[in-house]
Symmetry: C2
DNA sequence: GGATACCGTTGCGCAATGGGCAACAACGAG
DNA sequence: CTCGTTGTTGCCCATTGCGCAACGGTATCC
């Protein structure tokens, strides 16, 4: 969805708003050409070309060769290093995710609670990963993800009421949208020490997550493995849960040191 | 230096160019207010306010409380995760830098060769660090930094000629600007297996770096420690060099695994 | 080899946007 | 309580950003 005139905040600087949308498109898709960017923004190709030229001049976008597609540039590292908060997860969580993704052959993510959603802060793709999706920096719904359920299950009853107060969006046919049913699932998650997500975010996708504990015993993050339903079968869950728990303890240990 | 009309590329989209400058200011200084941003950009406060409002709406900037200063926002993580190339150093190098910074009490950086400059890809500040400067994503001159010298020393003679072909900028009074003298320094760097930088980038700043080797024995990065001249004395260099070498081997081992 | 289609760039003119000004609200210091 | 500073916002206008048309370059097809 580009910068549709309907619903646009007039206080925004339109050109800047568009430039950010360009960056989001490149981050989401990995790469894109001018024509695609123009279509996404709903502007003329010449407008898209100028926006990209500006971002390229400032090194936030770079081009593959002379005529190739565009993608996020190295200049972005200047800002990544400046992000406060869960940036430590990006630094420290990376190797943990890489190790686990290698062993499981599935995509591994770390997410933290950010307001009303789960924010993905680190990711490593497994060798068998077919999708090239990058979740880092993206927010996912708490009720429709395994990480989200882990984070919800660790919240107080009052906090759960607040987080689940709104209508639960049906992200996929199998999404749990009944608050009562979801609360039962969360109670079981707290008992089991892990949460699953069987085609609840999108069809064909399974995931399982476990909590990451802080020094005070509280849950500060969730670490998950995701993959196609045919590979992440129920039979395989106990093994994956155990590997996630090992990785979670490793991460806690490293985070404990990192935030000293 | 804000967006001075003199020397500005007219093909750039000015608003976007300014917005990027806002982000660079926030990344460099950690935080800033509207008045400071306006001064840096050379625009009116209302203009700065609108640019920041737009970046805030897109989550690239966030505010500390209701009236506090502004800083880089979590939304930036979406793009950081999409950066290709040396992003692995950001993930894997982080813990190595943090460990070493803790032990040395100085700021530790990892840099790679990027065109004609050294690109800083990971950093951790030591406990004794007085400056809050964030180097990640920033480019520094090869001839005036310890990391740069390490990367230069590992290059072939032909490559060194190319990299040193232009005029060597005097970044500080003690910068080596004579190419012949620099080549002698680089030969000694190759022999010693480390490079120093004694107030050559800026007055009062000392640094020392060692190479990070790839699986083929080539130099793929440099890891350095930096601090004020009074703390990074010559007497202390042998200890620091040894610690850097241990960290370098650790990093090589981790990188070897990560790029599998 | 020529024709066609597509992509990305650039000069130009114009309308919409971005920006400065003034006024205001809020907060902190004295 | 007063004053100074910071940040916000309505309004108006000049400048900028944008669309159009034309062009060059590349790849594909016949």
């Amino acid at each position: 969805m580009g910068n549709n005139e309907v619903g646009r905040d007039p206080a925004l600087v339109q050109s800047v708003d568009r430039a950010v949308t360009v960056l989001e498109l490149l981050a989401r898709n990995g790469e894109a050409g001018i024509t695609e960017i123009a279509a996404e923004l709903g502007v003329h190709k010449s407008s898209a070309s100028r926006l990209v030229y500006t971002l390229q001049a400032r090194e936030l976008v770079e081009q593959d060769g002379e005529r190739g597609p565009f993608r996020i540039g190295l200049g972005m590292l200047r800002f990544a290093g400046a992000v406060s908060g869960p940036i430590d997860y990006v630094r420290v969580g990376g190797p943990v995710c890489v190790d686990l993704a290698d062993r499981l052959g599935e995509t591994v993510n770390i997410a933290v609670l950010d307001g009303d959603v789960a924010l993905n802060v680190s990711q490593a793709r497994g060798g068998s990963a077919v999708a090239a999706q990058n979740w880092v920096g993206q927010r996912t719904p708490l009720h429709a993800t395994s990480s989200g359920k882990v984070l919800l299950a660790a919240a107080s009853a009052a906090e759960q009421d607040r987080l689940l107060g709104g209508e639960l969006e049906a992200c996929a046919p199998r999404t749990i949208t009944d608050p009562s049913r979801l609360r039962r699932v969360l109670r079981r998650t707290a008992e089991d020490g892990f949460a699953t997500c069987m085609e609840e975010l999108e069809a064909g996708l399974h995931a399982v997550a476990v909590p990451v504990f802080g020094s005070g015993g509280d849950v500060v993050a969730a670490i998950s493995a995701a993959g196609p339903a045919y590979r992440l079968s129920s039979a395989r869950m106990p093994e994956i849960v155990e590997e996630l728990r090992v990785a979670s303890r490793d991460l806690s240990a490293r985070m404990g040191h990192a935030v000293a």
